[in-house]
Structure formats: structure tokens, C-alpha cells
């Protein structure tokens, strides 16, 4: 199995298009960092415009607010919505790509079961997801911290502000990246499932993008009838639960409770639902692939 996984990883990382995702991410992260490095004050002014009636903000405050932790949070907000599309580029290609090149039948002549092949393809996609996230962590977290330094993290929500002390932030990023790995693995599993159904890689890639896009729009829309019926079951609703690690508990007087998460059970529930989706997509992929006529 490990040898097979190694072969799959070789296939993925020898393809030049694999690196499109890494390049695109680097471009987005650097563009955001560059913009905030030179014009961060304007961005901070925009963020704080709603608060200027209650608080006074010195230049020092604004500089401290615009620190590496905040920049990383802004980047994750932007990128973790787009990253599923980059994951689909590789996972959607895994079976359908082989089918279109005519190498799938040849692969199955080797002494491995179809379920094993699906597992290996899935594992390779997971490794790819982890590499993407590691790359993102290096660029967005480490890069921003080196460029902007660290300070307390202030997260703006629609109805409130969360402030965390700087030494209470790093573990939250570790947890958030861990959660993002589960979220993106869900997309990889969906893409793999669609890949099993197709003979051409373009189909599953576009289908994954469409599903993620439609579900994300549904998740973000505030339509009461969907709020309790549809939204709780869309995997895209739970993919943003990484933000839960940046929502903190407060005591009776409004002071942040160090090391706390406002609603940890909800975040864990979201992780559980995503893991359930991964299992469902993977099981369905194996079920369908076992019954599939491999003609190419």
C-alpha cells in the first residue's frame, strides 16, 4: 500500500499543474500582505469606522492591531473559501484522469483490490491537501508574523468583537489548520466520488466546483426556511467552523476567558459531520468503483 501511495504521490507532484495551486495561493497571500503592508492603515480605518464613536484609536493602536495574526486571519477568511477549488483540481483528476489516459485498466491488473486503489488515491489527495495547508501556514502565518510581528488578535464579528491575548492565539491557528484539513479532505472525498463516475477529469473538477459554489451560497444566505432545514446539513456550512476557535468565552463582566472557545461542542459537531461526509463519500466511491465497468 505504501509503495502504491508513493507512486500516486509521484504522479501528483510530477505534474506541473499540481503547482498551479501552490503558485495561486502564494500570489494571493503575497498580494494581500503587500497591500496591507503599504496601505494597512486605510484597511484598519475601514474596520474601525463602526467603532470610532465609542473608542479613540491612536496610530500606535492601529499599528498594533494590524499584526501578523490578524493578517493571517484575513488571508484564511479569503483563501479557505477558494481552496476547495484547488483541491478539486487534483482529487477530481485521480480516477477520471487515469480513465481518460487509458491507464486505469492497466493499474487494476496489479494485485490490489479496487477498494485499495480508492484508498490510495484518497490518501494521496489527503497528502496533497496537507501540503497545501502547510504551504498556506508558511506563507500566511509565518510570513505575516515575520512581516508584521505579533500582538493581540482582534476578530470582528457582525454583532461583536473578540479579542485574544497574543500568547493565546498560536494554538488556535494550529487547531484551525487542523480543522481546515478535515474540511478540505471532505472536498477531496467528494471530488474523488465524482471522479469515479466520470471518464473525463474536467467533469468531476467542474462538478465539485459547482457543488461547493452552490452550497457555499446557500450556507451564507440568510433565508429562514433554509436556516433550520437545509443549512445544518450542507458540508459547506461546517467548513467555516475553523473560525469557532477564534470565538472566545467571556466572564460575566465581558473579560475574555483565556484558552476558551465560545462553543467547542458546536465546532466538534461540525468536525464530526464533515468526518461523516468523508466516510460517506469514500464508501460510496468504493461501492460504485467496485461495480464499475472499466473499459479504458
Amino acid at each position: 500500500m505504501l509503495a502504491l501511495l508513493w507512486i500516486e504521490l509521484n504522479k501528483i507532484f510530477r505534474r506541473p499543474r499540481t503547482y498551479i495551486a501552490f503558485g495561486a495561493m502564494a500570489a494571493i497571500v503575497w498580494l494581500i500582505q503587500l497591500a496591507l503592508y503599504f496601505d494597512g492603515q486605510a484597511y484598519v480605518d475601514l474596520l474601525l469606522s463602526n467603532l470610532s464613536g465609542s473608542f479613540e484609536f491612536s496610530d500606535l493602536f492601529k499599528t498594533q492591531l494590524l499584526n501578523g495574526y490578524l493578517i493571517c486571519f484575513v488571508i484564511l477568511n479569503t483563501l479557505l473559501i477558494q481552496m476547495p477549488l484547488l483541491v478539486a483540481l487534483v482529487a477530481g483528476d485521480s480516477i477520471a484522469g487515469e480513465a481518460s489516459q487509458g491507464t486505469l485498466r492497466f493499474q487494476l491488473t496489479r494485485p490490489i483490490s479496487r477498494a485499495q486503489l480508492i484508498f490510495v488515491k484518497f490518501a494521496a489527495s489527503v497528502v496533497y491537501v496537507l501540503c497545501l495547508l502547510l504551504w498556506l501556514a508558511l506563507l500566511a502565518l509565518l510570513g505575516s508574523v515575520l512581516l508584521f510581528g505579533v500582538n493581540d488578535l482582534v476578530v470582528l464579528r457582525s454583532t461583536g468583537i473578540e479579542q485574544m491575548q497574543m500568547d493565546d492565539v498560536f494554538w488556535r491557528y494550529l487547531a484551525a489548520f487542523g480543522f481546515a484539513a478535515i474540511a478540505l479532505t471532505t472536498v477531496a472525498a467528494l471530488s474523488l466520488l465524482l471522479s469515479v463516475l466520470s471518464e473525463n477529469p474536467i467533469g468531476p473538477i467542474i462538478a465539485t466546483m459547482s457543488v461547493v459554489l452552490v452550497f457555499t451560497i446557500l450556507s451564507e444566505m440568510n433565508i429562514p426556511i433554509y436556516d433550520t432545514t437545509v443549512k445544518p446539513w450542507l458540508f459547506t456550512t461546517h467548513m467555516v467552523a475553523w473560525k469557532g476557535f477564534f470565538y472566545v468565552q467571556a466572564d460575566a463582566e465581558g473579560a475574555t476567558v483565556r484558552g476558551s472557545v465560545e462553543n467547542l461542542p458546536a465546532v466538534l459537531r461540525s468536525a464530526g459531520i464533515l468526518l461523516g461526509y468523508i466516510a460517506l463519500f469514500l464508501w460510496t466511491s468504493i461501492y460504485l468503483f467496485r461495480r464499475k465497468d472499466i473499459l479504458t
Partner: protein, 227 residues
């Protein structure tokens, strides 16, 4: 002995009551005038309905006539608008600029209530009310209404530095404006709990408490602090 103490207390009360508001304000001002600058370490607790902030270690700097700066030693602190009013010497820069109105003693605390009405018709301060512990010559509570920034209230507890009129604990209440950002900007995570936000979206009272622990009085404060 007990009788003597009782008589002494009553006498002090009578003497205090006998002071005119002008005399009281003068005695407070002379106490505050002994401080031309100070720095102090403190613990700051912010309580605003839409803000969750950690308790911060702060350094407070003051320099006459009207410079006050609160700096977080290791992080960020949201400083309320009008925090300058945390220092009462502000009020007494020019006591002649106010008409004083004696409202007698507060029934519960016995503190003298004096209203300060600015003579300048375009002054930012519309009205100030101070509650004075006449026996100790200290302001215990104040309420200041401004044209631009609403009403500020101060409550002070004194200890070691009472002789300088500097409080050990200050509670500063202020008007906080409504806060709301569109969800399209924040992309909030809805945890499905259906829990309503504590924020009403309307102006409410915010509160900042500072517990001072170590004053450095008249030792100088560098210009760089106020830049």
C-alpha cells in the same frame, strides 16, 4: 472617649458643611495641584456589551494640564472616547470658568453634591456634577455631560495616594455607540445554537475599571509617551 470621638465627627461634619462650594473646590484643586505629572501601573477591565477583551496590564501617564495616555504594556487595549475625563484635574484647570451650585448632601453617603456650570457658552462640557467627601477633601463620584461625546461618569476609591487626590480604583462609564457589521463582510460561523447576540445594536453604557497599583508622582513623563 467615645463621646469625644462622636463630638469630633459631628464637628467635622458641621465644618465640612460650613464650607462653601467655592472653598471646597479650592481645597480639592490645591490637592490636585500638587501633582504636575504621574505615571502609574494598573489593571484595566473593559466592559462593553459587544466587546470581549482580556484584562489588560496598563501604564497610565498624566501630564498637566490635559495630557493623559493609557498604554497597554503587552498588547492592545480599546480606550473609550473621552478617557481624558478620567483625570479630574481637567475640571479644575480654571475653576473660575464655572458657576457652582450647591445641592446639599447626598442622603445615603453624606457626600456634598456640587454642580459645575461652565460660563463659556461654547464649552464642550455642558454640565458637571461632583460628589465630594468634604471631610477627606476628595471627589468620590462625578458625572460630566459633553456636547460631542455624551455623558461620562466616574467613581473613585482612594487609598495610599489620597493625599494627592489620586484614586486607587477608577470606574469610568461612557456611552458606547451601536456596533453592527454586515455578515457579508465578516463571514461569521453560525454554530447553530440559535443563541442571540448580547449586542442590542443600540447605544449602551460601557464601563472601564482601572485598578492602580503604583504611582510615580512628579518624577516626569517623557514627551514620547504622548506622541
Amino acid at each position: 472617649m467615645k463621646k469625644f470621638l462622636l463630638a469630633f465627627t459631628l464637628l467635622m461634619g458641621v465644618v465640612a458643611q460650613a464650607q462653601t462650594p467655592e472653598e471646597l473646590v479650592r481645597s480639592i484643586k490645591s490637592k490636585l495641584d500638587r501633582v504636575s505629572n504621574y505615571s502609574a501601573t494598573g489593571k484595566m477591565k473593559t466592559n462593553v456589551i459587544f466587546l470581549k477583551a482580556p484584562i489588560a496590564k496598563v501604564q497610565v501617564y498624566f501630564r498637566k494640564p490635559d495630557q493623559l495616555r493609557i498604554l497597554n504594556e503587552k498588547g492592545i487595549s480599546f480606550i473609550p472616547k473621552g478617557s481624558m475625563n478620567m483625570d479630574l484635574s481637567q475640571l479644575f484647570i480654571d475653576p473660575a470658568g464655572f458657576d457652582l451650585l450647591d445641592l446639599g448632601n447626598d442622603k445615603k453617603t453624606g457626600w456634598r453634591i456640587i454642580k459645575l456650570l461652565p460660563r463659556d457658552p461654547v464649552s464642550d462640557v455642558v454640565l458637571s456634577t461632583i460628589y465630594v467627601d468634604a471631610a477627606a477633601g476628595l471627589i468620590r463620584r462625578s458625572s460630566t455631560t459633553t456636547r460631542e461625546n455624551g455623558t461620562f461618569e466616574l467613581e473613585m476609591s482612594y487609598g495610599t495616594y489620597a493625599e494627592y487626590g489620586l484614586a486607587d480604583k477608577v470606574i469610568f462609564s461612557f456611552n458606547s455607540q451601536e456596533y453592527k457589521l454586515p455578515k457579508g463582510i465578516t463571514f461569521d460561523y453560525d454554530d447553530g445554537s440559535g443563541k442571540k447576540s448580547t449586542s442590542t445594536g443600540k447605544p449602551t453604557k460601557g464601563r472601564v475599571e482601572i485598578y492602580y497599583s503604583n504611582y510615580q508622582i512628579n518624577k516626569g513623563v517623557p514627551d514620547s509617551v504622548f506622541r
